[in-house]
Symmetry: C2
Subunit: 452 residues, 2 copies
């Protein structure tokens, strides 16, 4: 069966939420009680295959994204896989440049557009029996260049430069593919969550070290004293040779960030993640200049809402680590552009993982980047967390501190059906039995500043 | 009745769409067939007053914003006006910093949050019988400063500096208020829509000149030859003393923008509006440096999605005209911050109008800015269009090229009930009689690039 005959006949969207706030998993200064959630899209076809994608969120608001995906999915129901795969930029433009919807900008709109695009990429990879990364590795440089919207980024990277980068990586590509399928991209893990005690953090570190990890992250932001103590504690626990990174989740203003970060200089940190607002390009430039002689770099991207923001951060040298996210921008097409820009400016791609199933997606980008774009693995690190992996048919796996290369066709985003049924919001059993404060009106955490 | 006893008892949200695409009104290179639309929020109270706000959009996607407003409105139903008016930052934080919803970012989320905030400001102004601008003018500098989220903007403007600016404008405030209530903020109008013939444009200019206008705008972007001819034609039609501005609606990349703009230098333009992407701060800086010796400035803001983007554009000197929008950011609170930043950096506030009822809102910001913040009117220009004003109970009016100061309490956003009923989407008579291509699946305009 050729892809031409595969037709999308319907779209199902599931609002999937897991009550992780019961245990404060993944909480940070802003996201005080996240319920890890996902807008899950299934594009059903007449060939028995299903194109699947997820958009990770943290609870309330998942319905906003589901609403958007349902609306946009109308644009692909009735089309064929070949309509898409012959030139993916066509669907990208129909979505992102829709003459009325583009008014909605980034955020919910771009995330919903990404969901539709990612499901089509999934379907394509499944139809040819390849993991997503392998589909990308096997595409011609010109074809990849034609998937990208160049309008607003050509000042940083032209189409010809992108093709040049990909061609330059051609020699040796088979060997890198062999190596990375044997030992996948290197991973790192957050060991220092805000709510944990020193003893709990130490136990986490030792467990991760037993799995071969040598790179660890720590949440900071609220209290400078405590943060410094915790950084010192973790540095001593892991020794001077391991990588230690801190993440402030955008909690500071620029001047505040400088005060906090100044105190971090003695600890040999690898990076400071999201010190300030996600869209403050000039702020990142200022921080990079202020700490130009420090031995750490700045990292962000998980909340960068468009390739234009990435373009500015990369072109200006403001960030030293490019943390692509799998579901914040408009799917594979946008992420390919960002990874190519990072390669041009020599900034390591260190994708953001976690949440629900993000690691399952970013491992494909890590593979593609390290095999075909940057063409090297020495500076790249991919975030890893084992959360909820038992609920997926193709869980991510690590060995010796590295991802195992994914082998399932597509993204490998299939959840166990029982898991989906149980966590549908608000009708799944996990939610229908809860008090209305968690499911009825918006679930609020009132603290002093919020409660006035 | 004091405000304390006014309680919000319910919220109604209307998806209102006008089939303006029948006549290509408001079309530009990206928004090919806009249907001017509005998500209209009514917060009903137990006091007979209703807090009203609108979010302007261009057709499809209005339902996305309605969905969001309905969700967020849960946070105010059951609260009192006094809960809000005693410290508006409280509701701002409950919305914008909601610990789960903030994941949704700008775009749909911030616009929906703005709708709720603006409706509460409307209710407050109505409860004290003042137009919105007068409510703002009468607030203490400290109170205004306390309405603003300073976390991400203090590097550009501190709370103390904002209070200082407002205090400095104190002397003379009564006189400026008297003057501006007699002769409101100066207006300008777009005469050069893309689809119009030279004769039609000339007729429009003569009509506007008859109404006292001396400042005119022209849409450009698609074809450099035609654009230059049109600019020349308009400059000759209006003479050298009038203001002429061009608007490219983000259509160009940076290098492309330079080529186009280079050809505009001989025509004495006042500003070039939105030459490049809405979030390309470094691009705006580059354009400002490239054309530093030109006699025009750059303008943008209508699509700037957050105060952080405005902060960067203002602080860096990248834009010479600050085009606040009334519904893109999170309501009065965000716009106050932006107007105060513009005042600090000496950038004229020239709000974006048009659409449905935007002019009705921005006239209040223009009044507040010119009376109490910048404290002067000589460099400020407010966009004006008379579209749909007959459908409002308190239409905006111009006289001698200036807005007439609004006198109705609140924003003055009340539509005629018949207009609302007729244009509800998709059940109103205007829509229910139409072919499904316009109301069923997403309304698409396929051209060569989009249709692949």
């Amino acid at each position: 069966m050729t892809s031409k005959s595969i037709k999308i006949i319907s779209a199902e969207v599931v609002d999937l939420r897991v009550p992780t706030s019961d245990h404060l998993l993944g909480s940070d200064p802003f996201h005080k009680q996240p319920d890890y959630s996902s807008a899950v899209l299934y594009l059903e076809t007449d060939a028995g295959l299903s194109g699947t994608s997820v958009v990770f969120t943290v609870g309330a608001g998942t319905d906003w994204i589901c609403h958007g995906i349902r609306d946009l999915a109308q644009l692909v129901v009735g089309t064929t896989l070949d309509d898409f795969s012959s030139a993916p930029i066509g669907l990208y433009r129909r979505l992102v440049d829709h003459h009325q919807l583009r008014w909605l900008h980034d955020g919910v709109f771009r995330m919903a557009a990404g969901a539709v695009l990612n499901a089509m990429w999934d379907l394509w990879a499944k139809s040819v029996g390849k993991p997503l990364w392998k589909l990308l590795v096997d595409l011609d440089p010109e074809f990849i260049a034609d998937c990208i919207d160049w309008r607003n980024i050509s000042d940083a990277l032209t189409r010809d430069e992108a093709i040049g980068i990909l061609r330059e990586r051609g020699p040796g590509i088979e060997q890198r593919e062999r190596e990375l399928t044997q030992r996948g991209p290197k991973a790192y893990c957050t060991a220092g969550w805000l709510g944990l005690s020193d003893a709990e953090i130490l136990a986490t570190i030792r467990k991760l070290q037993g799995q071969g990890f040598d790179s660890f992250k720590l949440k900071v932001g609220l209290d400078s004293e405590q943060d410094v103590e915790r950084i010192r504690f973790m540095r001593e626990a892991i020794g001077p040779a391991c990588n230690l990174m801190v993440d402030a989740n955008q909690y500071w203003g620029i001047e505040e960030a400088k005060c906090h970060i100044e105190r971090y200089t003695p600890f040999g940190l690898k990076w400071i993640e999201e010190p300030i607002a996600r869209d403050d390009v000039l702020g990142y430039i200022e921080l990079a200049e202020t700490f130009a002689s420090a031995d750490f770099g700045f990292a962000c991207g998980e909340h960068a809402a468009s390739p234009v923001i990435f373009k500015q951060l990369l072109k200006s040298g403001a960030i030293q680590y490019c943390q692509i996210d799998a579901v914040r921008v408009a799917g594979v097409n946008d992420v390919m552009a960002i990874i190519l820009m990072a390669a041009k400016f020599g900034v390591p791609v260190c994708p953001h993982g976690g949440g629900i199933a993000l690691c399952n997606m970013i491992q494909h980008y890590g593979m593609w980047d390290q095999i075909a774009v940057s063409g090297q693995s020495s500076t790249q690190l991919i975030e890893y967390i084992d959360f909820l992996q038992d609920e997926l048919e193709h869980p991510v796996r690590v060995r010796d501190g590295c991802y195992e290369a994914p082998t399932a066709a597509g993204w490998g985003l299939e959840f166990r059906p029982e898991f989906i049924e149980l966590h549908r919001f608000p009708e799944g059993n996990v939610w229908s039995s809860r008090e209305p404060a968690r499911t009825g009106a918006l679930f609020e955490v009132l603290n002093e500043s919020q409660a006035r």
